[in-house]
């Protein structure tokens, strides 16, 4: 089992854990039970409890339910945009290329958080979820992915590379999908997608945290669910006031670490040989 397989296994494991957590999430946090307050993981398996005696595993699983699918979708979208950008460099369509670049410049120049906030503001309460924001975020990330994939394709030789392979008698599908995308663009596409996945998770935590501290309904999920931001908020009390909630902070950070690990492992697994 070489290094690459190790990374693939690690990424797979982290992502499956994330999905398993999301799948096992309860519809509502359980009831307060102060007799169980602030128990550490070794006192209350597996993650301990919060200041009100609620199991932290609920926060973990509900947060995962909020994040898992939208962030994954955002990753796929960004990779897809990147792929299209790369392939575009390998075809002789100057008008399309200029248009894509023009649109890319516009989108790339938009301040992302402003756009996200405005979109969040537009969403009716019952539609509030991370998914639309994740899609918007993926679109905002697209120009970067398109540029980078385009640059790789350009280094490859662009249209000349395609012509050369055609001369060897390869079919269009094999050339574009196998030789260009799988063999050459893969590393950059997977890395871009993984990074997008990670940043969407961070975006969710950030937006949820802002909503929590500002006494607002969440932009990214129904208030039935708790975000990992709630863990950070409670853990913050340990940082600021020395209240016994250090373990909550570590659980929150650990969960974010899980996403980071997934993204990093994916990136590493896809690196060129």
């Amino acid at each position: 089992m070489n290094r690459r397989h190790l990374y693939i296994a690690l990424a797979g494991f982290c992502f499956v854990t994330l999905l398993a957590l999301a799948w096992s999430a309860p519809d509502l946090p359980s009831t307060i039970d102060r007799s169980q307050r602030s128990l550490k993981p070794w006192e209350y398996w597996p993650l301990g409890t919060d200041m009100n005696g609620r199991p932290l595993i609920e926060y973990a699983s509900q947060g995962a339910r909020v994040i898992a699918i939208p962030s994954f979708l955002a990753g796929i979208l960004v990779a897809f945009f990147g792929m299209m950008g790369g392939l575009l460099r390998c075809v002789e369509w100057p008008t399309i290329q200029t248009m894509v670049q023009f649109i890319g410049e516009i989108v790339g120049a938009l301040p992302r958080m402003v756009v996200i906030l405005v979109v969040a503001l537009l969403l009716p309460t019952e539609w509030r979820s991370l998914m639309p924001l994740a899609v918007v975020w993926a679109i905002l990330c697209a120009p970067g992915a398109i540029d980078e994939a385009g640059a790789v394709a350009a280094r490859l030789g662009g249209t000349r590379f395609v012509e050369a392979l055609k001369a060897h008698g390869f079919g269009a599908w094999r050339i574009y999908m196998h030789h260009i995308v799988v063999l050459n663009l893969r590393p950059v596409l997977v890395r871009q997608g993984a990074e997008a996945m990670m940043t969407v998770a961070f975006l969710e935590v950030a937006l949820s945290y802002l909503a929590v501290v500002e006494d607002q309904s969440s932009f990214t999920h129904s208030d039935n669910l708790r975000s990992w931001a709630d863990l950070l908020k409670e853990g913050y009390l340990w940082l600021a006031l020395g209240i016994d909630s250090g373990h909550v902070l570590f659980v929150g950070l650990g969960l974010l670490g899980l996403v980071v690990l997934t993204a990093t492992a994916l990136g590493k697994a896809a690196e060129a040989r």
């Binding site: 519809d27 509502l28 946090p29 359980s30 102060r34 009100n52 309904s217 129904s222 208030d223 039935n224």
Partner: protein
């Protein structure tokens, strides 16, 4: 690590306190408006008490009716008791340095009498005031619609400066709403993060000992308590019940009673869906375990004789004369009754309750600021209703949305249940909460789900028209039992409000309802 921060905090704090001129405190939220004609929240009322003067007010200590603006020795009752001739005290200036004159009193009254001034508060004064004429720059003659034995009691409104408005049709959206000019003990403006106050000394009628104040929006309760303890803040207007016992024995912080009659409720959307059925509302009433809610969200201690929280069965606190003690509050869940009622309402249970073939899904909202007083109340209620077989979708509602949409009946399409609280002073009139909404008649302005019940309406009219005290009391007793049966609200509890102030803030008198009436006397001492 924490210790070093604390130490740093303490040193800096002591430095701050050593030269403290600005008294900083947390309130539930920032004021919605600083224009007193449009006050809707208690935070508004408290802030207005600092920026403005009421023409007459009750001394918070001995309740004597007095005025900082009017020279009582020269006040005359005229027109067989229908008019009051008011003479302004000398040397009173507005915050902008202009002289306070009779024009300002009459402008305020004219603004309130102008029906294009969309002020719910003005409406109350329209019932009593007929007109105001300026006789001299310092003399105004106020005429009432009828003879009152205590006409001054009808003049407890905040006075506005004529010079700041172009018309008597005052609107809520002007700059005045965040940068007011008043005659109150403090001048200042609202910021994005805090409301600021600075002593108004260039006048004869105020000499506050505190140089400046700052009202910040309440943070996480634990943060508030710690910043108060280490002296980074001087006060908290409303201390969550859970934190009161630990502050009670604190030597550097003192808990203060804030006399306010507040009760909590869950308003039910009677206009659509299964909640339109009375049986379903009654079933929800029996599905709640208030005792558990109180214990878990408020931190109620069964051994505490001084418990700040007491169940209610109607729209009054138990100590009020209007409270009908014959209607017992529902304290615990009664599944049997709830199920019988739901079956009677035609709902079917199949794991969840179904109405017309669809599972009953309840959209529950809560005024977000209540979450600071009652930990996770929203989730607790949702949990109990889920256990009872309903699916729930819960949302926090920001103070802004609550005041602009919820209490004005704009959320009937979005929610089935709304959790909130009402606070009252001496006037416990609840007609606005339950009367059928009518913009033209200024009725039911706080009717959250536009509840309408002819029987309740007639009881409310009965109260309005009652010619005897017992008549009014009986009408509200009847209202209490009607509401406890029809349940446009699920009544939860009354909850006392306690403030906490650092010991170095001395000579504090917190006036009922308005809070800061006596602020001129407060001072900050270096010693505890």
């Amino acid at each position: 690590m924490k210790k070093s921060w604390m130490l740093g905090g303490l040193l800096l704090t002591s430095a701050v306190l050593g030269t403290a001129v600005e008294v900083q405190f947390y309130d539930e939220s920032l004021p919605i408006t600083l224009n007193p004609l449009f006050a809707t929240t208690m935070v508004d009322n408290r802030a207005h008490e600092l920026y403005f003067d009421r023409l007459y007010y009750n001394n918070p200590t001995d309740n004597s009716l007095t005025s900082r603006l009017i020279d009582e020795s020269q006040t005359k009752i005229e027109d067989a008791g229908k008019s009051l001739r008011l003479t302004i005290k000398d040397g009173i200036n507005w915050h902008n340095g202009k002289k306070f004159t009779a024009n300002d009193i009459c402008f305020t009254i004219d603004a309130m009498l102008n029906v294009r001034t969309p002020s719910p508060i003005a409406h109350y004064y329209r019932e009593h005031l007929a007109s105001c004429t300026v006789e001299k720059s310092n003399v105004a003659k106020v005429t009432f619609k009828r003879v009152y034995h205590n006409p001054r009691e009808r003049l407890k409104f905040f006075v506005l400066p004529k010079s700041e408005f172009s018309s008597t049709a005052v609107q809520p959206d002007t700059e005045f709403a965040n940068q007011p000019v008043g005659t109150g003990p403090m001048k200042g403006r609202m910021g994005t993060l805090a409301a600021r106050f600075e002593a108004h000394t260039k006048t004869s009628h105020h000499s506050p000992k505190i140089g400046a104040m700052k009202m910040s929006q309440a943070q996480d309760p634990a943060v508030q308590i710690s910043t108060l303890r280490n002296g980074a803040m001087h006060g908290i207007v409303s201390v969550p019940p859970i934190y009161r016992p630990e502050l009670q024995t604190e030597s550097e912080v003192q808990l203060r009673s804030y006399d306010l009659r507040s009760w909590w409720f869950i308003a039910l959307n009677t206009t659509s869906g299964p909640l339109a059925s009375k049986e379903v509302r009654q079933a929800l009433n029996y599905s709640l375990d208030r005792s558990e809610l109180r214990e878990k969200s408020i931190g109620f201690d069964k051994n505490d004789k001084e418990s700040p929280c007491e169940f209610i069965s109607g729209p009054f606190v138990q100590s009020s004369a209007y409270y009908n003690h014959e209607v017992p509050p529902v304290e615990f869940t009664d599944k049997r009754k709830a199920e019988a009622l739901l079956n009677a309402a035609g709902l079917e249970k199949n794991g969840l309750w179904f109405h017309e073939g669809k599972p009953v899904a309840l959209r529950i909202g809560m005024d977000a600021k209540l979450g600071k007083e009652a930990t996770d109340l929203l989730t607790q209620i949702a949990n109990q209703l889920s256990e009872a077989g309903f699916t729930t979708r819960i949302s926090k509602i920001s103070s802004d949305d609550w005041n602009r949409k919820a209490i004005t009946g704009q959320l009937t399409k979005e929610y089935d249940m709304l959790i909130g609280k009402w606070s009252f002073g001496i006037n416990e009139d609840v007609n606005d909460l339950f009367q059928t909404r009518s913009e033209t008649k200024f009725q039911g302005r706080h009717n959250i789900f536009n509840y309408s019940n002819p029987e309740v309406d007639s009881t409310l009219v009965e109260y309005e028209k009652a010619r005897t005290t017992d008549g009014a009391k009986n009408a509200y007793h009847k209202l209490h039992s009607q509401l406890a049966d029809d349940l446009p609200y699920l009544f939860l509890w009354k909850l006392d409000t306690k403030s906490a102030w650092r010991a170095e803030v001395k000579d504090i008198t917190i006036s009922p309802y308005y809070y800061f009436t006596d602020i001129n006397r407060w001072y900050v001492s270096k010693s505890k």
